[in-house]
Subunit: 221 residues, 2 copies
């Protein structure tokens, strides 16, 4: 079965230095996004076709960075939409036939190859595969004036790549956009499919703050 | 009102190098635990009395480290119990009068001074103050064969120092130990008190794995 990875790099990075989206920041000599795409390129045996979803305003920067870093990994660039939901939908339109589709955050360069491989395998047999990690801290739900503990044994922090059989993902993305769609699993769940969790790798952090770049560098070290 | 901080350093560190408990590992030239105690020592204006709870087997190592690093911050050493619950209880017995008691993980050297100060202030007025941070990733609950999304807007990852009016904490620790007591807030909640969350600092990670030491070093940098 054909394999795709939709790499979502839609963030405008307003929380970090203005003007420079976080996926373009340099980590160990290379933009974060290139690290991310390399992991998919180098993973496993069968080719994963890369679809990179970028905001319109960033395509020029990306082209320049590719030249500057002699980045030669084959990929298709697709323009992002208004929200992450719309961006993924745009990427999904470029996939063909009955396939397995991974959706991955461009700012997660530290995903382990074994997690990618495992996610494709499990999604192939079960339809969905979502990497997640347990929390080693206590977890509470904030109520209006107080809070209550929830059993952390069953709590999982969700990561990407979230991998789906294409028929499932396409069906799910026919829904209207809703604010509570924080990731692809929530979209697919709302369409009535079971979400199967697999073991993620704890190093697979999302680079959203300046300090995450330093942490990522330590983790790569 | 008198202020105490019970620093819990009871972990045997079996997940890291055998024999060397993680609170004794060297971070930027100093054992993790000394960094942690220094933050409390240097915080705010009014003195915080430090009660360090250590497993019996580690008191000798601690004494040697204090000599070696000329560690001169005044503190009382108390022997730990079978679980964290029993260790905190042992520390609590050494507090006197109507006071404010912070319970803090020895392996959290990166707590911000402002969080400590705020926790004492809020606990003084409301009885409990628990630092917590939001999650910027999706969260799910693992069921037997599937999983379901939970609204991450209200999910909080709980940190320490957890600060309580001593009367509340002592009342709570009269309960029998239960397996679901993962932190002091859960003990106090089970005794019927409202748990008031305050804003923690995201850097305040728990050093439980080797890699956390590197991350902590980046965060201190």
């Amino acid at each position: 079965m054909k394999k795709y990875a939709i790499i979502v790099a839609g963030g405008s990075g307003r929380r970090m230095q203005p003007g420079m989206p976080k996926q373009f920041l340099i980590l160990e000599g290379l933009p974060v996004l290139m690290h991310t795409m390399r992991v998919f390129y180098l993973t496993g045996t069968e080719e994963v076709r890369l679809i990179l979803v970028l905001p319109h305003d960033h395509t020029g920067t990306w082209r320049d960075l590719c030249l500057q870093h002699s980045f030669a990994i084959d990929h298709l660039v697709v323009e992002g939409g208004e929200t992450r939901f719309h961006s993924v939908k745009n990427g999904l339109e470029k996939t063909e036939g009955d396939s397995l589709v991974a959706v991955h955050d461009g700012v997660r360069p530290l995903v382990a190859p074994r997690v990618i491989e495992n996610a494709f395998t499990i999604a192939g047999s079960r339809g969905t595969a979502i990497p997640a990690v347990p929390v080693n801290e206590s977890v509470r739900m904030q109520d209006k004036n107080s809070s209550r503990s929830i059993d952390r044994k069953n709590v999982r922090i969700v990561q990407t790549p979230q991998v789906f059989r294409s028929s499932i993902l396409k069906k799910a993305y026919e829904q209207e956009y809703r604010g509570e769609f924080t990731d692809d699993a929530s979209v697919v769940e709302a369409a009535g499919f079971a979400i199967h969790l697999i073991e993620g790798n704890v190093e697979n952090i999302k680079i959203t703050r300046k300090i995450d770049l330093d942490i990522a560098a330590s983790l790569m070290g």
